[in-house]
């Protein structure tokens, strides 16, 4: 047979492949990075992705949902890869990492605005590295000529040393924890997703903390000592929505996204995806904003033309 559709699943990853005589496509899900939030499932244009909740074992913590990809349906457009806030998906064509929808500018990329001013950093401080729940930050200290310093404390020339903070941006959901934990205010992070998350106290069942168990960001949800129920700290929430999937009671958790920060794009596919991720109202808002920005630009151009 000229075409082969394959699916292989191991403990660490799920790979679907479409092998043709002339080309080979693959989509890899890194299970270590995936939180089961299901954003990919929501916007997959082929409905090739399925979110499976893991049945809870009595007495155990709730486990995050898992993602399954259909090798029959997937057409390797790469929309899932572009939207995954945790960078858990990867598309390759003929072994090369290519995202077709990004290459053709048919889909935007998430804006991960993370600024680190290392001049403010204290050479002894690794607070951000410790704060990152996904272990994406590596702090290194270097001498002015670029050599790495291991034993910072014993060095007499501390003032001359340079701090280097490396962040794996592609995998960062922009939770803010590093920014908040930084004692010097050296890090500035802007969130990708904005939204609203609230827990309805009356509907939220007693002794259930499933949402807290699956939340990838510590501190975004916490157990209150006062009433023994789960509360939200929106400061850290990345609006991935994993909590919403596992919540056993309808309307106990109010969750919706209102904004997705992304690179500029003109694409019907993005409008559709945005509508699914947020709501029709939010999508029209973005469209209107785009429209008025365009109008302003053309006025500016015309104005500039008449002056010259």
């Amino acid at each position: 047979m000229p075409m082969k559709l394959l699916k292989t699943e191991t403990e660490n990853q799920l790979v679907v492949k479409r092998i043709l005589h002339a080309k080979c496509y693959s989509l890899t899900l890194d299970k270590a990075l995936c939180t089961g939030c299901g954003i990919c499932k929501e916007i997959c244009p082929r409905e090739a992705i399925e979110v499976k909740t893991v049945p809870k074992v009595e007495g155990d913590k709730a486990r995050p949902p898992t993602i399954d990809v259909s090798e029959e349906k997937c057409h390797y457009c790469g929309i899932c890869e572009s939207i995954c806030p945790f960078g858990a998906l990867k598309v390759t064509v003929d072994g090369e990492h290519v995202i077709p929808v990004i290459k053709s500018e048919s889909f935007p990329q998430l804006l991960r605005e993370i600024e680190v001013d290392t001049t403010k950093c204290d050479v002894d401080c690794v607070d951000c590295e410790e704060a990152c729940p996904l272990n994406l930050i590596t702090v290194t200290v270097q001498t002015p000529d670029g050599k790495e310093v291991k034993d910072v404390k014993s060095r007499p020339d501390k003032e001359k040393l340079k701090v280097n903070v490396e962040i794996k941006k592609a995998l960062c959901p922009c939770c803010h924890l590093c920014e908040v934990k930084c004692p010097e205010g050296a890090i500035r992070v802007r969130k990708i997703f904005h939204g609203i998350i609230q827990i309805n106290r009356e509907k939220c069942p007693e002794d259930c903390q499933d949402c807290l168990d699956v939340c990838p960001i510590p501190g975004a949800l916490y157990l209150s000592e006062k009433d023994g129920k789960v509360h939200v700290n929106e400061l850290f929430c990345v609006y991935c929505g994993a909590c919403k999937i596992v919540c056993p009671v309808e309307e106990a958790l109010e969750f919706r996204r209102t904004l997705v920060r992304h690179t500029p794009v003109r694409s019907g596919a993005w409008n559709k995806a945005l509508e699914k991720l947020t709501s029709t109202e939010e999508m029209t808002k973005e469209l209107r904003a785009k429209g008025s920005a365009k109008a302003q630009e053309s006025i500016k151009k015309r104005f500039a033309g008449s002056v010259s």
């Binding site: 000229p2 075409m3 479409r18 043709l20 005589h21 002339a22 080309k23 244009p45 082929r46 057409h75 390797y76 457009c77 929309i79 077709p100 929808v101 290459k103 053709s104 500018e105 048919s106 889909f107 003109r266 694409s267 019907g268 596919a269 993005w270 559709k272």
Partner: protein
């Protein structure tokens, strides 16, 4: 009140073609016992003049009003015998043929016993049918002077060109996006070993340019009603999401399309874009969006620009066409 059927059965030896295998005497005895059969006669060659004379004589002497000839295929001599009984004063449609040559003696030459039994069954069926035959009149009906060819492969293309050359208006209906069929998929063809598309391509272009031919591609046949010369055919045109009149076939939309899917035309060896033609020589050269794979990013709309050939609102359309014989 219809008259009681009086059936005459004429069993033909066809030389040794039938008599060499089948026991004719046994058939004669058997046929005599069938209901409404009043006369049975065997002949060496029923189609020859003496044989036909026997039929005319039988009709006159036994006052037959149904005639069966157990001989060859009706494609061979049905018109002959219809003419024969008409000359004897019967309506030509009270005639029935029992094909005991092609259906029995020719195909079972090594088992004469079973062949004889089968011939009996065939004659029995013909008798049963003859009892229900009625006189019919020949009438004339107008014919639509247009033709429809179903399937735009090399056979359909040739048929359409021939018919159109004779001056008939031809509708060439093709299910796929382009005409060409399997020949367009082949590399070289016997006996010249020319490249297949080099032979077929010019014919495809001829079809598209011929003033008498209308290609209805990417369409499904829904229903065929009517009769020879007066067919009514319902066809559904599937949406291409590209306006054929505006599409220049430039391919700029294909270049910007991000989606690729296995190309059925090259048996899934390679890929084509979500907006594309199955192969470069496609006729008509109109691009098609495959909505199963399109993500509606509208990059193609931007690329098409002022030509405005892309329309995402296309619907399935049904059309009625008529067709002659």
């Amino acid at each position: 009140m219809p008259e009681e059927p009086r059936i005459g059965v004429f069993i033909c030896h066809c030389g040794l073609n039938i008599a060499g295998v089948i026991d004719i005497n046994e058939l004669v005895e058997y046929a005599r016992k069938l209901p409404n059969v009043v006369y049975v006669k065997e002949n060496r060659y029923t189609c020859a003049d003496p044989g036909q004379e026997e039929i005319r004589k039988g009709i006159e002497e036994y006052n037959l009003n149904r005639v069966i000839v157990a001989a060859c295929s009706p494609r061979m001599h049905e018109p002959t015998f219809r003419r024969c009984i008409a000359e004897a004063g019967l309506n030509p449609y009270v005639f029935e043929m029992a094909n005991i040559r092609e259906f029995s003696s020719w195909c079972h030459p090594s088992t004469p016993k079973e062949a004889t039994e089968k011939a009996k069954e065939i004659i029995k069926m013909a008798v049963a049918k003859a009892r229900l035959l009625q006189s019919l009149d020949t009438i004339e009906v107008p014919v639509t002077n247009k033709a429809m060819v179903l399937g735009g492969g090399i056979a359909g293309i040739s048929a359409a060109l021939d018919l159109a050359g004779m001056g008939f208006k031809v509708y060439l209906v093709e299910r796929g996006e382009s005409i060409g069929g399997h020949m367009a998929q082949l590399d070289k063809t016997f006996p010249t070993l020319d490249c297949s598309i080099c032979i077929e391509g010019p014919k495809m272009v001829d079809v598209s340019r011929h003033p008498n031919i209308e290609i209805i591609s990417y369409a499904d046949l829904l229903t065929v009603e009517g009769y020879v010369g007066n067919f009514k055919v319902k066809i559904r045109k599937n949406p291409r999401y590209v306006i054929a009149e505006n599409c220049t076939g430039c391919g700029e939309c294909r270049d910007v399309c991000p989606l690729e899917y296995p190309n059925e035309w090259d048996e899934n060896m390679g890929v084509r874009k979500a907006i594309s033609v199955p192969f470069d020589q496609a006729v008509p050269l109109v691009y098609t969006i495959n909505m199963d794979h399109c993500i509606e990013c509208y990059k193609c709309v931007d690329a098409c620009g002022a030509r405005q050939a892309i329309n995402f609102d296309h619907q399935k359309k049904s059309n009625l066409k008529s067709e002659p014989s």
